[in-house]
């Protein structure tokens, strides 16, 4: 039977999932192998160096940079309090008249004092960075000083694009049909701290309302490009996201514009309504691709955690596909044939195609490059 490799996104009700939780700098791991953790639990922490405040002592004292050393009252490495004298000159004629002194505006530490520039760098106290488990699960590996690997059994959905970082909340369906648009009128205070699910699109006003009532996450089929620009204040040039501080995380399952959420994805979310859900909008469409994810932890025994081997999503007869380019963008279908020879499509491009039966019963041919395997 004809087969071909094709990229795909996972939508499954049962997967063994391993998540690395790594600190940005080396630090302390707070859990040990075998520990059961909740999404909210801290698993590792470290301290980022504090903010730095430069002060040009030479300018303030009115001396050349190489003379600053003579007037210093502190040394590099010294802990300082706000108001401490950093440097002081001897005043007029060395008699202490009209002395200039420079005091520290912050609590912290003297990082360095340069003889080349006469500049002192003061560093504020260190900033703690804490990494949470993000998913309920079991610690299966500890990477000393760096982080952990957590595994669980989950229902799992990979999105195509998202915004903002990791959140956890209860799953709440706000529409009954994957074609429905998620509008602001559907959002009320009962959505607070929830991960809400819409259908084909989420509107700008709905996102703003969601932020207002304290929704944690939004899962939807499509979003308008201009709405993202309005929310962020800038256009996304390259799809590297996840660092935004929007007040809500957004995960798009299908693409830009109004596109019906795949039935399979919608039904899966519906089945797990009310369940605790971890999700994030982090997307990177370049080397080392990152896709946004919805993770709904399931009950499991340790013995269940046997991951199936990673495999290539294959196109073959019977494979369920999503059309990812016009015509029929967003429509789900089933592969019915994979002819070998090249075909000419409307744009006169000669491509390899596949034959498919779409959800609506229509039979069609589609360039193989324009479908995505829906992985199970």
């Amino acid at each position: 039977m004809a087969q071909a490799y094709s990229p795909g996104l996972s939508v499954t009700d049962n997967i063994v999932l391993a998540k690395q939780r790594i600190l940005p700098l080396k630090g302390n791991v707070l859990v040990k192998k075998g520990d059961k953790v909740k999404a909210e639990d801290l698993v590792a922490e470290t301290f980022l160096p504090g903010n730095v405040l430069p002060i040009n002592l030479a300018n303030k004292l009115g001396v050349t940079a190489n003379l600053v050393i003579e007037y210093l009252k502190v040394q590099p490495g010294q802990i300082i309090k706000k108001g401490d004298i950093l440097a002081e000159n001897k005043g007029l004629f060395g008699l202490g008249l009209f002395k200039s002194r420079v005091v520290s505006p912050i609590d912290g530490e003297v990082e360095s004092i340069s003889q080349h520039t006469g500049q002192a760098l003061l560093r504020e106290p260190r900033i703690p960075v804490q990494i949470k488990a993000f998913i309920d699960g079991i610690v299966v590996d500890v990477i000393p000083e760096e982080g952990v690997v957590i595994e669980n059994k989950s229902a799992y959905i990979q999105g195509i694009f998202g915004i903002s970082g990791e959140v956890t909340g209860e799953l709440k369906m706000l529409v009954n049909d994957p074609n429905d648009v998620l509008t602001e009128s559907l959002i009320d205070s009962s959505c607070k701290d929830k991960c809400i699910v819409g259908g084909s699109m989420v509107t700008l006003k709905a996102i703003q309302k969601a932020i207002e009532v304290g929704v944690k996450g939004i899962i939807c089929g499509g979003i308008d490009d201009q709405d993202i620009k309005a929310l962020l204040g800038y256009d996304i040039g390259v799809a590297i996201t996840g660092h935004e501080h929007l007040g809500v995380s957004i995960l798009i399952t299908e693409g830009f514009g109004k596109i019906k959420m795949a039935n399979k994805t919608f039904d899966l979310l519906k089945r797990f309504e009310g369940k605790k859900t971890s999700m994030h909008g982090k997307t990177q469409i370049r080397a080392g691709v990152i896709r946004p994810e919805v993770i709904i932890p399931l009950e499991f025994n340790d013995a269940d955690l046997v991951a199936s081997e990673s495999h290539m999503p294959m196109l073959e007869e019977g494979t369920i596909i999503r059309v990812i380019r016009q015509p029929n963008f967003g429509v789900i279908g089933k592969v019915t044939g994979l002819p070998e020879e090249l075909h000419t499509v409307e744009s006169e491009t000669r491509v390899r195609i596949l034959e498919a039966e779409l959800e609506n019963g229509k039979k069609t041919t589609i360039p193989r490059a324009n479908v995505e395997v829906i992985e199970t």
Binding site: K26, S114, L121, D225, Q226, G255, R325, S347, E348
Partner: protein
């Protein structure tokens, strides 16, 4: 090594979107030919996270097509390697395996850099030019006089997380205070690399050489400090070459290495050199294309401009002047898939829409562009979408060419002398050496140009984006083979040159374009052209028109070209030229739409005008242009 020994070679180019494989064979009586081509999506995505899987898939396709072509089921290029996974079989044993495998790679995405200088529009600008020229996205230019407070600069440097930093500042022997102060700010920010936590951030110092010791004192403990020559040794001199080379070295070491499976691929690329099986380094795609481009210019004694438009980046290469000065720029944020949204952001929507011969809903176009960004491997199946992609391509090419012209200002050895009076207004100073009037050959490459369903589309994209002046030959890399041949030339120049001449370059034709602007309806070009079949084309072509004359590949047409009053076709204003024009698979284009300036109408006449030109160019089926 003789041709008899090296009979079958596989070359791949692992692009950020697609892995393209070609089979080169030695055929008795013909020499080296490119015979079969296969491709597969590049597999740097989960769950595979291994670039070699895409290579195997592409080679698998080669194998299947080779079996069909030669009706020989025994042909195999792959075998099970020691780990049980499929890999390319080298050396060859009869029908099994190949004699050599070479590859280029541009997977790994773009290079993100931050640059610093002392004076923003002097050393800051020089550093930016060096970084841009080396293919980076410049995330920010931090300079002593950029009006931000020092603590703001520190915060900015900390939050950026670039792949590397280029620090410039100060002329040699000048004051070191400001450049050291900048180093202190960088040190205080303690910047971290974008990818990985295990290595130190590379910082290239290319500033006042007298400050080197102080810079080392300030930074050497915290970062991987590389010191190179000053990019601005004196106020009047710019020396970007050494810094740019260092950026390229670090790009290979740090960014390309992040492409998953890259280490494995490096072990696979092997071939016999002087009879000994040797590992052949993977070449970055643009470097390989540059190799081939330089060869064309030098062998034919011509000025060449080449472009390779990919999914993430657009590279422009040029060889100009009698001294064959080679310049290359990589516009890391202009491409047709991963970076397509950046093309929209940089070019703006009106500039894209101006090339579209029908009305379109702006919101639909924006969403289409974003959808291409998040699903970069899709292809336009509908004619309207093809036209839109080609409109976007024209803008990506135009912008990449602007960047190239701004960069290609150097004299030989990348030393550029500026007049002291120009030193304070760099943006407008530094005349480009790119001269479209003296350019002989414009070569297009990359998916959107090489795979356009009609070659006429390639011609129109090249002309609209680059606006060649006077008389210019146009060519396209037939199936995007230049990177493969560029790397193949490293081990077997004979094979590379033979395939290049026979199978790679397709001459599209010649463009004749008078320079200047006159009123519409006035004659812009009086052409009398004797075509190879003896027919004579004679017309006084008004300003604002296009004509396409068929002239077979390999044939020449005799032309007498008289420019309209005040116009120039290369011999000076109003001067007649009698020349031979090269034919090609598209033919000879007479373009009187004007140059310097070339202006598209912005009123209601735009769409009818575009349709008229497009009909003449025969770029799209008639029904969409009626």
């Amino acid at each position: 090594m003789s041709g008899e020994q090296l009979k079958r070679i596989i070359a791949t180019d692992c692009g950020s979107t697609t892995t393209k494989a070609i089979l080169i064979e030695y055929i008795e009586g013909e020499g080296y030919r490119q015979t079969i081509r296969g491709e597969a999506p590049t597999t740097v995505e989960a769950p595979l996270n291994d670039v070699t899987r895409g290579v195997v898939n592409a080679v698998q396709e080669l194998q299947e097509l080779a079996r069909l072509k030669y009706k020989n089921e025994n042909i195999t290029f792959l075998h099970d390697g020691p780990s049980g996974e499929k890999e390319i079989k080298i050396p060859r044993d009869g029908d099994n395996g190949v004699d050599a495998y070479v590859s280029t790679s541009s997977a790994g995405g773009g290079l993100q850099m931050m640059v610093t200088g002392v004076v923003a529009n002097m050393t800051g600008e020089s550093a930016e030019r060096a970084a841009l020229g080396a293919g980076a996205i410049v995330m920010d230019v931090v300079a002593s006089n950029d009006k931000r407070m020092n603590h703001e600069k520190i915060e900015r440097i900390r939050e950026l997380r670039p792949d590397m930093i280029l620090m410039a500042g100060g002329v040699d022997g000048g004051t070191i205070k400001h450049v050291v102060e900048m180093a202190e700010l960088v040190s205080a920010a303690d910047p971290r690399p974008r990818l990985g936590t295990a290595y130190k951030l590379p910082i290239i110092f290319a500033g006042n050489q007298s400050a080197t010791d102080a810079i080392k004192d300030t930074l050497a403990d915290k970062v991987e400090l590389i010191v190179t020559e000053n990019i601005r040794p004196t106020l009047e001199n710019e020396n970007l070459g050494p810094a740019r080379d260092k950026i390229h070295d670090l790009f290979m070491e740090h960014v390309m290495q992040q492409a998953p499976g890259y280490h494995k691929l490096m072990e696979w690329t092997r071939g016999p050199i002087d009879g000994k099986m040797t590992n052949i380094p993977i070449m970055p795609t643009p470097a390989a294309v540059g190799n081939i481009m330089k060869t064309i210019a030098q062998e034919e004694h011509i000025e060449v401009l080449g472009v390779d438009i990919g999914g993430a980046t657009t590279d422009v290469f040029s060889v100009f002047t009698d001294e064959y000065i080679f310049n290359r720029t990589v516009s890391a944020n202009l491409g047709m898939s991963y970076s397509i949204s950046n093309v929209l952001a940089s070019a703006t929507l009106p500039n894209i829409i101006r090339w579209v011969p029908f009305d379109i809903n702006e919101s639909d176009l924006r969403n289409m562009i974003k959808n291409k960004m998040i699903r970069p491997t899709t292809i336009p199946a509908l004619l309207e979408e093809l036209i839109l992609e080609q409109a976007i391509a024209k803008e990506a090419l135009r912008l990449a060419f602007i960047q190239h012209k701004e960069f290609a200002v150097s004299l030989k050895g990348m030393q550029q002398t500026r007049d002291i009076s120009q030193a304070f207004e760099q943006s407008t100073s530094g005349a480009t050496i790119v001269n479209m009037m003296t350019l002989d050959l414009l070569v297009g490459s990359g998916g959107v140009l090489s795979h356009a369903p009609r070659r006429n589309q390639t011609v129109m994209m090249l002309i609209d984006a680059f606006l060649p002046e006077g008389i210019t030959r146009l060519a396209v890399d037939s199936i995007f083979m230049m990177p493969h041949l560029g790397v193949l030339a490293e081990i077997n120049p004979t094979a590379a040159t033979e395939v290049f001449n026979k199978d790679c370059m397709i001459m599209l034709g010649t463009c004749v374009a008078p320079v200047g602007k006159i009123k519409p309806n006035l004659t812009a070009l009086s052409a009398e052209i004797t075509l190879p079949d003896g027919t004579v084309f004679k017309e006084d072509i008004p300003f604002g028109e296009v004509r396409l004359l068929p002239c077979e590949l390999g044939k020449k047409a005799k032309a007498k070209l008289v420019p309209g009053k005040g116009l120039d076709i290369g011999a000076g204003k109003n001067e007649t030229r009698e020349v031979e024009l090269d034919g090609g698979i598209v033919g000879i284009v007479l373009d009187t739409r004007g140059r310097n300036p070339f202006v598209l109408p912005s009123d209601n006449s735009r769409i009818p005008m575009l349709k008229k030109w497009m009909k003449e160019f025969k770029v799209y089926p008639e029904h969409i242009l009626n």
